[in-house]
Structures are given as C-alpha cells and as structure tokens.
Symmetry: C2
Subunit: 242 residues, 2 copies
C-alpha cells in the first residue's frame, strides 16, 4: 500500500507544472533545504571540508519547487548549478549556514541535507608556516553549532516537519535512530557512504522515523528526491509526522 | 633590456603554432607541471585541503605546450578542464602527486605550481563520530613529502630548471628567498595570497632567483603563464639557470 501510494504520488509529481503555473501539492508551503559541504578555514589558504557534492540536496530543492513549494536553498561550496525556481543562498562555514537558515525561517518543512562540519578550526590570520623543529602544528578544533538540532528543537516557529540526513560508514540504521532521537527531528534519511556515494548520481537510502524504517533500492538522486517529496506530501496530507 | 627580451619572446610566443605543427622554442623538451591543491583524507567523508584553483598551473602547462614542449601535468582535484595538448594525470593526495611526478620524470623543466599540503592526517577508516563527552577529536598531523625539494635535490636526472611557487600572506620576498635556498630550486614564483588571488583570473608575482628579484605587475594568469614560459626559454637559451 505504501509503495502504491508512493507510485501514485510520483505519477502526480511527474505531471507537475513548473512553479507559477497550476498549484502543486506543496503550493503555499515554504520548504527550506540545506545542501553541500561546509568549509571551515584553517588559515587564508587551508581549510577543512568534506566530500558532499550537493547533488542530493539540490535535487530535493528542485523536486520541492516542482511540487509547487516556495523553496529556499542554503548551499555550501559546490560545483553544481543553482536549481531553477529556487532562491539559493551561498555560504561557506557552518556558522554562516546557521545564520542563513535562521534568516530564512519560518518554514513549513526543513530538510537538512547539507554535510555540516561537526568541527571548525580556530583560524589563523596568517598562513601557518612549517616550524623550524619540523613539528606539525596543532589544529584546535571547536564544535560547530548543530543546525538540525537547533531547527528541530525550536519552540514556536518549529517547522511542521524537520528532516535530517545521516551519512554513515557502519551501523547505519542504529546511528540514524540514535540521531533521530538526539536531534529531535521527524525523519532521518540515512545512507551508507562507505561505497562511493560522494559525487555519485545514485543513492541508496533508508527512511528512519520513530515508528520504523523504510528502505529504498539504489536510485538516481533525482528519483530519491522525487520520492522523498512525495513521501513528505503524504505525511502532511495524513496530518502528522511520518 | 630584460623587458625588451621578454616582449620579443612574447611576440614570438603569440605566433606559436599549435603542438604538432612547426616546432616552438621548447620543441624536444619535456616540461612537467604540478597544479591545484592536494586533498588529504581525515576519514571517508572529511578532508583537509586548500583554496588553490589550479588556474595558474594549468595556464603554465598550456603555455608550455603552445611553446612546443611535450607537457605532463599532474593535477590535484580542480574544477577546471584539462589543458589541450597536455598529458594530464589526476591525483588527490600529496603522496599520490609525488608518485605521479616520479613516474613522469625525467623532465627538462619542472614547474611545481601545485599547492601541496604540508601536512596530512593519519586517516580513520570509519567516519569519526562526536564523542559522548563532547570533546573534539585530535587530528594527528604528519609532514608530507616535499615534492619540490625532492625534484630539486635529485642527483642524476635532475631537471635543468626547477621552478617552485610560494604563496605567502606576509614577508613575501623574504619567505621566497628562504624557500629558494632551502629547497634548492632555481626560481621561485612568489605571490601574496592575502588579497583575493585564490580562484581569481589575475595574479601579481615576483620572480626570485639567487641573483635578484623581478616583479611583474598584476596580469591575467594566462599572461603570467606566457611570460614565465618566455622567461624560461630565455634562461635555457642563455645556457644556464635564471
């Protein structure tokens, strides 16, 4: 029944008009999406980052726009183009991403697909030089703000649906369930990034909610995006969290 | 006289045929260029890197090819296309770049334009998780091989001309002179990266040799590349190091 419902929703989705034409299932909704990595400066030249390409997050923003939503995308540094019909804000660090997210709220749906750096480095104003002793420098790491948790744990003005992502290399479902509870979000889209997902055009995800797990086969990232938006529309239509 | 000679060389350069046509001033020479950043993995998702775009190094490889040389380019991860007429090898880490450079030797001219990471991280096979205590992880840095010094200090098979780059944020010339001596190369192309050079299309460089400094005005990176190749051709024609 779930598969049939998703397929029905997808059939509707593929017939959706462009934004501005007839209203889609997300008409009147504001969807806020984060995507890509963040980049944490170490000095004027060096930085800490991660391999997120932004393909999955950007595809979700585009799918939400096709669904009729007003979409704001907050993107870290990526090599891909801004999605059409989406208001895109470009940021570099996790702190900048948090500020852009807070500026874009309120939203009906928050989808945190960005790979936000857990830690930043206390940056040096000048380029760090090799020391005469040959000893490597010490990077003083500091914990970054947790954007997903902050959005999920807002009081008034919390989005009706808060979706997080979990990129794991082992114990994928256990980590995702723990993350769902700890962050207070409604849905975690979990995937195993041990197997060449970064930069790829396909993705194999598990949807983890408080009531269970739904695993999808390996699909194109555009297809994952369309199915996720259909799933979200169903959840909202059912009047509650997934 | 130097300016006139450079201008003369540039006039010749701009009339150069494409590789495979009539021979240019570098015909019969093998030029080995490195370009771009290196990317040092921390775990399957995270890495340490730097802001080098590869534009200057790639432009130099292209200019050397237009000068008639056989050119090998060893490039770190960049967003720009491989130059035409250049054999390009793609690498990620400093250790991979060193291996690709050694595999490409011997060369008549080595131009190390890449921003090779000075340090790598002892990588974790699994994604590093936040600890329960909230304490950030410690990144154990290890010094990377010094590709420029290794090439410059080869005995038999040392390229006739070894050119390094120095991206500095202060004391640019002093750091470049110290680097020239310490690494044993023939020429350092130094620039100040405090002022929006990364990713830009222009560059303001100083050519530092054992005998002096030649400063060029801010020029397009393609123009810097053409002038540098002309300068190298002159040095070789004069039968010695710059």
């Amino acid at each position: 029944a779930i598969v049939a419902a998703i397929e029905a929703a997808l059939r509707v989705d593929t017939r959706l008009p462009l934004p501005g034409a007839a209203p889609g299932p997300l008409a009147g909704r504001h969807v806020l999406v984060t995507s890509g990595p963040t980049r944490e400066p170490i000095d004027p030249a060096r930085f800490l980052s991660n391999r997120s390409s932004g393909k999955q997050g950007h595809a979700i923003a585009a799918a939400a726009a096709r669904g009729g939503a007003r979409v704001t995308l907050v993107s870290g540094p990526v090599e891909i183009a801004d999605p059409q019909g989406v208001a895109t804000r470009h940021v570099e660090t996790a702190q900048q991403m948090l500020a852009a997210v807070e500026a874009a709220l309120p939203a009906d749906i928050f989808i945190g697909a960005a790979a936000v750096a857990d830690w930043r480095v206390e940056p040096s104003a000048d380029k760090i030089k090799k020391s005469a002793s040959g000893a490597p420098p010490t990077l003083a790491l500091r914990e970054n703000p947790d954007i997903l948790a902050r959005v999920a744990q807002r009081g008034a003005g919390r989005p009706a649906l808060v979706v997080g992502f979990a990129a794991e290399t082992r114990d994928v479902l256990a980590h995702a369930q723990e993350k769902l509870a700890r962050k207070g979000c409604d849905l975690i889209v979990a995937n195993d990034v041990g197997a060449g997902v970064f930069g790829a055009d396909s993705n194999e995800v598990h949807l983890v909610t408080r009531t269970g797990v739904q695993s999808w086969p390996r699909l194109g990232k555009d297809e994952v995006a369309a199915r996720l938006v259909a799933y979200i529309c169903e959840s909202l239509a059912a009047g509650g969290t997934p």
